[in-house]
């Protein structure tokens, strides 16, 4: 079943300097608990697609449906940014409560759920620490739990690993991948890193340069390999890398 459907979505920006057609015609689906990556030349509007799905922007044409409902009113989407955006004046626990507080959902039940997530993903001892006391990888994990606390059906990852150093990054990718699979959340990753996209995804959407249309969609068949780290080494992923690389040239 499709949890998310984009149909002929287009977006034009208006500014004093004129109008910019960012997205021309974008259509693709995301199935339940599927992991989809969006790649394309820089400036082609990848992040814009995430803003549209999350309802931060409205498309100028086409429609975006989350479980058959308009994305603008849907409350089922979690968003992870390049930076963890943790608030330094709040403890890790209070940071994780942020979304629940804003949406008026900070019930005893929700608190228990957060406690379980903290324990499960190794941040329990750090719940009363402030963000500056944590390493980059732990901070990104805290940001992930903050998003999971709202029980999203779809997770949007906007270059979510780019701010981390390479070694931390490989570990965090494995971490986040495992968590998202365990929680059975459909995910959309936007990234410049083609190898990273291939290592995590079930499906890859390749965009053209601006105004973007969908150039091609590739299925990735690596499910028998458990972690993104190991997938990077497989022959299949290298073949796919070369194929998409050529398309992007």
């Amino acid at each position: 079943m499709n949890i998310l459907e984009l149909k002929n979505v287009g977006l034009t920006y208006f500014s004093k300097n004129g109008e910019t057609k960012a997205l021309d015609d974008i259509s693709f689906d995301v199935k339940n608990s599927e992991f989809v990556s969006i790649v394309g030349p820089s400036g082609c509007g990848k992040t814009t697609i995430l803003s549209l799905i999350s309802g931060l922007l409205s498309p100028t044409k086409g429609s975006i449906l989350v479980e058959g409902q308009d994305a603008k009113i849907s409350n089922k989407i979690g968003y992870m940014f390049q930076k963890d955006e943790l608030f330094e004046w709040r403890t890790i626990l209070k940071n994780i409560y942020l979304g629940l507080e804003v949406q008026g959902k900070l019930s005893e039940e929700a608190k228990l759920r957060v406690d379980k997530l903290l324990q499960k993903y190794g941040l329990w001892e750090f719940r009363n620490s402030h963000p500056s006391e944590l390493s980059g990888g732990m901070r990104q994990r805290a940001a992930l739990i903050r998003t999971l606390a709202l029980q999203p059906k779809i997770m949007l990852l906007d270059e979510a690993f780019s701010a981390l150093d390479y070694q931390t990054r490989l570990n965090v990718v494995d971490d986040v991948y495992k968590i998202l699979r365990e929680e059975k959340i459909a995910s959309i990753l936007v990234t410049h890193d083609l190898a990273e996209a291939i290592s995590m995804s079930d499906k890859i959407v390749v965009l053209t340069k601006r105004p973007a249309i969908v150039k091609s969609i590739h299925q990735v068949n690596l499910l028998d390999i458990p972690t993104p780290f190991e997938r990077r080494e497989s022959v299949e992923s290298k073949k796919l890398f070369n194929k998409i690389w050529e398309e992007l040239q």
Binding site: Y79, K83, W89, L98, Q103
Partner: protein, 270 residues
């Protein structure tokens, strides 16, 4: 990470050195103050300076004691202190509220921008006669002068802090469908706490400027009044004595703000 470090010999040595440096600095500071006072007194006693123009520490103390004996010391101190504190509180609160209003409404911000810039560069003392004619003489006009001196710069500083908030964090809250009020209370205000402390520290100095300036314009009591009065009758002892008391009050108020800063910083872990 806050680890408890086991006390090694080197660490104990490091700590004692830091402590000794701190004590050394305090001793030197007190030393400088005492030698300046001593030198001043010495020059006065030997007749190297004219105490009629320069006054001297012993005469300052005598003057303060005389005012205190007449029972008027507290009247003057409390008058000025009251004006300074009321002005400080009103200007800081009003300026911060105005900044919030301007943050909230961008159109209003753009409309008022040129007016605020002009008001900021206007020397407020020029408004003295207008203030007196409009609100009359007395405490109200002094406090108003004091508030005028602080409020615009408070508004501008806090507005800059509010507007400069990291866009990514705003986007995060918007992705939770947060409304504008939630963005203000959960992000903008706590994020600007450091700037607010900066404003408090600037205002705690400015409020004395405003109050004394107000008292120069018109007053029947207060330290500014004593200074003007002392100047008019050429009683430099009175002028110096009032200035010394003013210094002490300003220091006390500064430390009060430093204490507030400590509490706020502890609460917000900045």
């Amino acid at each position: 990470m806050k680890n408890v470090i086991p006390q090694s010999k080197e660490y104990a040595k490091y700590l004692s050195k830091a402590k000794r440096t701190k004590i050394f600095i305090i001793i030197i500071q007190i030393g400088i103050l005492l030698s300046l006072i001593g030198l001043w007194e010495l020059l006065a006693v030997t007749g190297a300076i004219d105490t009629f123009i320069m006054s001297c520490p012993s005469r300052i103390v005598t003057t303060i004691a005389t005012i205190a004996a007449s029972g008027e010391l507290w009247l003057h101190i409390s008058t000025t202190l009251y004006e300074a504190i009321i002005g400080f509180v009103i200007a800081t609160a009003l300026g911060t509220l105005l900044a919030m209003l301007l943050w909230w409404n961008e159109t209003l911000r753009r409309i008022l921008d040129p007016f605020i810039v002009v008001l900021n560069s206007l020397p407020k003392i020029a408004l003295g006669p207008i203030i007196i004619i409009w609100v009359g003489i007395g405490t109200a006009s002094i406090v108003l002068m004091d508030v005028l001196i602080m409020v615009i710069i408070t508004t501008l500083t806090m507005l800059a802090a509010f507007v400069n908030c990291d866009n990514g964090k705003i986007l995060l809250l918007r992705s939770y469908n947060a409304n504008k009020f939630q963005i203000l209370t959960k992000l903008i205000i706590p994020n600007s706490i450091c700037d607010f402390i900066g404003v408090l520290k600037v205002n705690v100095g400015l409020t004395w400027v405003g109050t004394i300036m107000g008292e120069y314009l018109n007053s029947r009591a207060g330290l500014g009044y004593l200074i003007v009065y002392g100047g008019q009758i050429f009683n430099l002892d009175l002028v110096m004595a009032s200035t010394v008391i003013l210094c002490l009050l300003a220091a006390v108020m500064y430390f009060a703000v430093a204490w507030i800063e400590k509490i706020i910083k502890k609460r917000y872990n900045n």
